[in-house]
Each structure stands twice: as structure tokens, then as C-alpha cells.
Amino acid sequence: MQTVDTGATRTPLLNDPAKRSLIYQVGVLLAVGALAYYLVSNTLDNLERQAIATGFGFLEKESAFEIGESLIAYSAADSYARALWVGVLNTLKVSFVGILLTVLLGTLIGIARLSTNWLVSRIAAIYIEVFQDIPILLQLFFWYAFFYEMLPAPRQALNPVAGLFLCNRGLIFAVPAEHPDWGWAGWAFLAACGAVYLLRRWALQRLFKTGKTVPLFWIAVGLLSGLPLLAWLLGGAPTAMDVPELRGFNFQGGVSVSPEFAALLLGLVLYTAAFVAEIVRAGIQSVNRGQTEAAKSIGLKPGQVLSLVVLPQALRVIIPPLTSQMLNLTKNSSLAVAIGYPDFVSVANTTINQTGQAIEGVALIMAVYLCLSLLTSALMNWYNKKMALVER
């Protein structure tokens, strides 16, 4: 930058836009810095005056409380850090399953909403209005009460098919007993996924080169079911099952889905799916009708019109608001405290109360949700870029 200093045309400091904005910015920065300094020092003062301990040292102490359900081994003898980790995993579990089901259900209802069948579109509309308009917390209370009031006690558990029990302690079902062969079947499934991915790429290239299609769907089904089956057969086809059994008060063995988890999942999915359905409907309607007509006129089947022409364009509109619904679902999962599902907030709150370390605890809560949200956003942004209009 060159300054022209002729003396006669020197502008006053505040009349020079560049210098003026610099002064204002420095001023704002100083004010924010001073406020931050005041808040932090005041907090430390108050903490010291009230003789409240500070720091994250408490994380290594023994937690001494039990947690109802956990994805990893946990007992009251473990540390607060591990207890909090159990909470994070529980939040991830309900959010992950919840997002998958929400996208699935929301898309179905969004498409149903546009159906030419009067009854189907009315039912979808009613669903959307009802679930969108009732506060999520009330829905959670409703589903939780529904599970524990409606279902019988363990000793009178419903047993619709062998190995599956339904009672007010949850849904308990038999799973295959542990055997190394199941691990091999899992690897075989992953391998099949990889094979399908490569096959799809090859099929697309072939399509563009020769115009010939491959019955990809049926090959994929065959691979995904066939490879694990083969691994299972080669491993000796173990059939032993871990069947739940009523011992004492509760069922032992098998896998159980608690009423708290089920109520939270159901509440979150049904609520968020109503919003997703509206987003999907809006996205599909944003695609010009001429596109559909053109696609039909070149002889595409209705399914192909949707998957090859309409959805790829609609997704560009759908993805950004869909991301924000995913974030909403994750954040709403913290309502779990109301119905006793041990999510991260629930565990963190117990920790705060038992240790008195509110500032550290709340900081942890904010950090964890920030990370989850940023991670979800990053993934969705990446997907959005991939789907966005590529201008040639």
C-alpha cells in the first residue's frame, strides 16, 4: 500500500475508512478480552471463596454409581472418566440408530405425502401434523409410560415366538451363542460389501461404455447373503443359541432392549421423521415437473424416474436441512434424563452432583455435543459436496 502524503489532502484519522475500521476492531477486541478476563477471574474468585475444588482431577476417581445400560463393561468400581464414556456411547447409540431410522421413515412418509392415492397422502399428512405439533418431551413421557404401564411384569412376559420375550423390563431376545465362526461371518459380510462397491463401479463404467445394464441388485443380494452363509457353513455351522431365561426377578442371557431406550428412540424417530418428511416432500416438489415428464417420455419406469432423475436433483435441496434435523435429533437425545435413559447428559449430571464440579461438567457436556455436531456436519457437508451440481 502506498500512502500519499501531500499535507494539504491529509484526512482526519476517523474519516479514513481503513484506519477507522482498524480502530473499531481493536476496540471491540479489547472490550471482549476485558470482559472475558473479568468473567474468568470473577469465577475463580467465587470458586475459591466458596472453597469449591476446581480442575479435572475428579475424572480419575472411582465413580461409585451404577449405570443401567452400557455398551462396554462398566461397574461402580470404574472411574468417572469411564462412566462418562459409557454415557457418550449411549448417546451415540441412540443418535446413530435414531438418524438411520428417521431418514428411512421420513423419506417414506415424504414420498407417501406426494402419492396420487388420496388415502395414502392424507394419512401421511395427518402423521406429519400430529407428530410435528406435540412437544417431544410429552411424546417421550407418553411412550415411556406406554411401555411400563401396558406391558406385563417379567414373570408374565409375553412370549410370541420362542426365544423372544416382551415385558415391562424391555424386549429380550435370543442371539447366537458366542462362537469364533460368527466373527468370520462378519468379516465375510464386510468383504461382500467391498465386492458390491467395486462391482457397482465396474457396472457403471460398463453402462457408460456399452449402454448395457447389469442386474446389480440381485447380484448384491446374492453376495451379501451368500458370502456370510458360506463362511458360517465352512466354520461348522454352529447353531447354539444364547436364550434368555427368567432367573430370579429378571431375564438373564440374550440381548435386551430397555424400555427407556425404546421409548427414547421411538419418540425421537417419530418426532424428527415428521420434519424430515416435509423436507423430502419439498425437495421432490422443487424438481421441475418437466424433468419427470421428459424422463417418462424417453421410456424410464416410475422407479427409475425417481431414482435416476428426481432424487439426485432433489437431494441437493434436501441435504442441508436434513443435516440440521440430524443435529436436532442428537441434541434432543439429551431429553433422555426425563425418562431415565443413561445418556451422556444424565451421567454427566450425576457426576456433577456427586463431585460438585459444575463448571468442568458443563464444559464437558458442551464440548461433547459440539464435537458430535461438528462431526455430523462435516460428514454431511462432504456428502453434500459430492451430490452438489457439478458444473462443467
Binding site: N46, G68, A145, Y148, F249, V337, N353, T355, V362, I365
Partner: protein, 337 residues
């Protein structure tokens, strides 16, 4: 969500409140009432009755403090608090004193920065089970689903108990007392664990109280006491000696009925206690007749106990540990001189 907002409120308080404040007694006198944190949902300890009048042992403790400070037991405002929000509310200055069946333990006095005054109820943790379960002892509870309030000593004790006896448990943790009780009555858990007095209070409001039984094992010591913040010794003394005044009055045989006659008593202990011979009140920074007001307006400890949790109430609690030391209990006041 309420718990999170409580945590946030506390953070906001710690961040924002000015540093030095006047003594609590001056604050209380200036605003003309005492702000007391109470349970709000616990029958027998702190809960409004059908007419909206607050009743309970903790409520009467709060009224005794108001009687001591103002000579008027009604100058109290109540803030209902959950187990999780209670200490935050006290630390942040939202309430002046906490009378909310809180157990006195070491870490609450140290890392939470609180002082617990004289115990107003000696309790212990027990188990409430439906009779239909056929359980006679807590030792038979292996594998049980246990309903428990979060953020309580109860939550830790029950984990300790099952660990030490080598049994398994599945906690069901719900913050709201009535929601927790509802889940228990609907059969979500095999047992509800809490302080025995609370279990009696919960059973009293059950759809059919006779269907439930409290197991004989008491697995912990739960001295329930009012609490104040660290660092205001005068206010601590006032709260402490308000509770002690009720206990001392019972020992001296002074009741709300006969307190006016006792003013004429020749016993120097009674004269000193009721402020006929002055000294006690002034040293606390209160009216000389503060103990007279406590007994006259609220009653002695025995009266308060029987009125709220005793034989003729739905809770039907025995005096047990809460009898005077002269009757084999733990209630013992230092001399008032």
C-alpha cells in the same frame, strides 16, 4: 433438561455474581423473609397440602429459623428443589438455607463448600418392594431392577451394597420423584430404594399402600440436616441453634402449649433458654426471646416429629434414633448457656 439448566445456572452464578456480599442475616432481615430450599414432593418432610399450605418436618425446621430471626414463623418463602439442583441453588445464593432431607457427608462439606447444622432426622436407607414379589430380605435382591433418584447418597450406597454382597443390580434412574414412584408402582423396577422415611412417604401415596412392604435391612447412615454455605458463621449458628432449640425444649419439657407458663419457671436452665435471663439471644445477634418464639410458634422437636411423620400420620414412623438421648435416641443438644 432441568438438571442441565441447573448446572448452567450454577455456572452463570459463579461467573456473574459479584464477589463480596453482606452477611446472610443482614440480607434476610433486609428482604424480610427467609428463602428456603425444600423438597416439594416428599410427604411428611416438605410438600404443600391440599390447601397449598406447606407441611413437613423440613418445613417446620424452616419455620423455626424464621421464628428465631423474625419472631414470625410465616416469614418464609419456599423453593422446591430436586435432589440434583438443591446444592447448586444453595451455593449460588438462590436460597438462604437448605431444608431438604439432605444427608450430611464429608465431601458435601468440603468440595461442595457447605456446612450442615444439627441433624433434624436420623435416617437410613432401605428398600420398598411389592408384597407380591415374595422377598423377605434385601439379600434376596440379586439381579433386581432398582429404582433410584440420581445425585443422591442413595445412588452411591445401593451400588456399594450390591458390590459388597456380590449381587447384581440394574439401576433405573429418574430425576423426578413422582415420575420415579410412578415407574415403580407400574412395576418397572423390583424395588425402590431411598431413605426409610422417604419410602414410608412414597408408600403412603401408593395406589394401595398395603401392597408394599419396607424390607428390614437398613444399609446406610443418613443423618438429614439443614445446610448453609461455607463462610458465614453467624448464619450457621442461627440455623444450628434454631434446630437445637426445638430439641432442648423437648428435653426441658417445654411445649408450644405450656411455654407461656414456663416463662415463670424458677429453673435457671429454663430461664436462660427462654431468654428470661438474657444473654443467649444477643450473642447470636437475635432477639433475646428467640427460643421462646421457636417453641411458641413451631413447637418442640417431639411435637414437630409427631405432627409430620409420627404414629398418627400416614408415615407412622417410630421415634427410634430420633428419640431424645434420655430415651435411648440420638437427639442431644449442648447446654444453652
Amino acid at each position: 433438561m432441568r438438571r442441565l439448566s441447573a448446572g448452567l445456572a450454577m455456572v452463570a452464578m459463579l461467573v456473574l455474581i459479584g464477589s463480596a456480599s453482606a452477611g446472610t442475616l443482614d440480607d434476610v432481615k433486609a428482604k424480610g423473609f427467609i428463602q428456603v430450599g425444600v423438597n416439594g414432593e416428599l410427604f411428611g418432610f416438605g410438600k404443600p397440602d391440599e390447601k397449598g399450605v406447606w407441611r413437613g418436618l423440613d418445613v417446620d425446621t424452616a419455620r423455626a429459623i424464621a421464628a428465631a430471626v423474625f419472631g414470625d414463623a410465616e416469614k418464609v418463602k419456599y423453593t422446591p428443589l430436586t435432589a440434583v439442583t438443591r446444592f447448586t441453588a444453595l451455593q449460588s445464593g438462590e436460597v438462604d438455607v437448605l431444608c431438604r432431607n439432605a444427608t450430611r457427608i464429608l465431601t458435601r462439606e468440603t468440595s461442595l463448600g457447605l456446612n450442615f447444622a444439627q441433624v433434624n432426622y436420623y435416617d437410613g436407607q432401605g428398600f420398598l418392594v411389592p408384597k407380591s414379589l415374595g422377598v423377605k430380605s434385601a439379600k434376596e435382591l440379586n439381579g433386581a431392577a432398582v429404582c433410584v433418584l440420581p445425585g443422591t447418597t442413595t445412588e452411591l450406597n445401593v451400588a456399594d451394597y450390591f458390590r459388597s454382597t456380590g449381587m447384581q443390580m440394574k439401576p433405573v434412574v429418574i430425576e423426578n420423584t413422582s415420575e420415579l414412584a410412578k415407574a415403580f408402582f407400574a412395576g418397572r423396577c423390583d424395588c425402590l430404594t431411598s431413605d426409610v422415611s422417604q419410602l414410608a412417604g412414597t408408600r403412603a401415596v401408593a395406589p394401595n399402600p398395603d401392597d408394599y412392604v419396607i424390607l428390614p435391612e437398613v444399609i446406610s447412615k443418613e443423618p438429614l440436616a439443614p445446610a448453609v454455605r461455607h463462610g458465614d458463621d453467624q448464619w450457621y449458628d442461627i440455623v444450628n441453634f434454631s434446630v437445637l432449640a426445638m430439641i432442648e425444649a423437648e428435653e426441658l419439657g417445654i411445649t408450644s402449649q405450656n411455654v407461656d407458663e414456663m416463662l415463670k419457671s424458677a429453673d435457671p436452665k429454663v430461664q436462660r433458654f427462654l431468654g428470661v435471663s438474657p444473654g443467649n439471644g444477643k450473642s447470636l445477634g437475635l432477639d433475646e426471646k428467640y427460643a421462646y418464639h421457636v417453641v411458641k410458634l413451631v413447637g418442640n422437636y417431639g411435637e414437630v416429629f409427631e405432627r409430620n411423620v409420627g404414629k398418627d400420620t400416614p408415615l407412622k414412623m417410630d421415634r427410634g434414633l430420633n428419640a431424645l438421648w434420655t430415651n435411648g435416641g440420638l437427639m442431644y443438644s449442648p447446654p444453652f448457656k
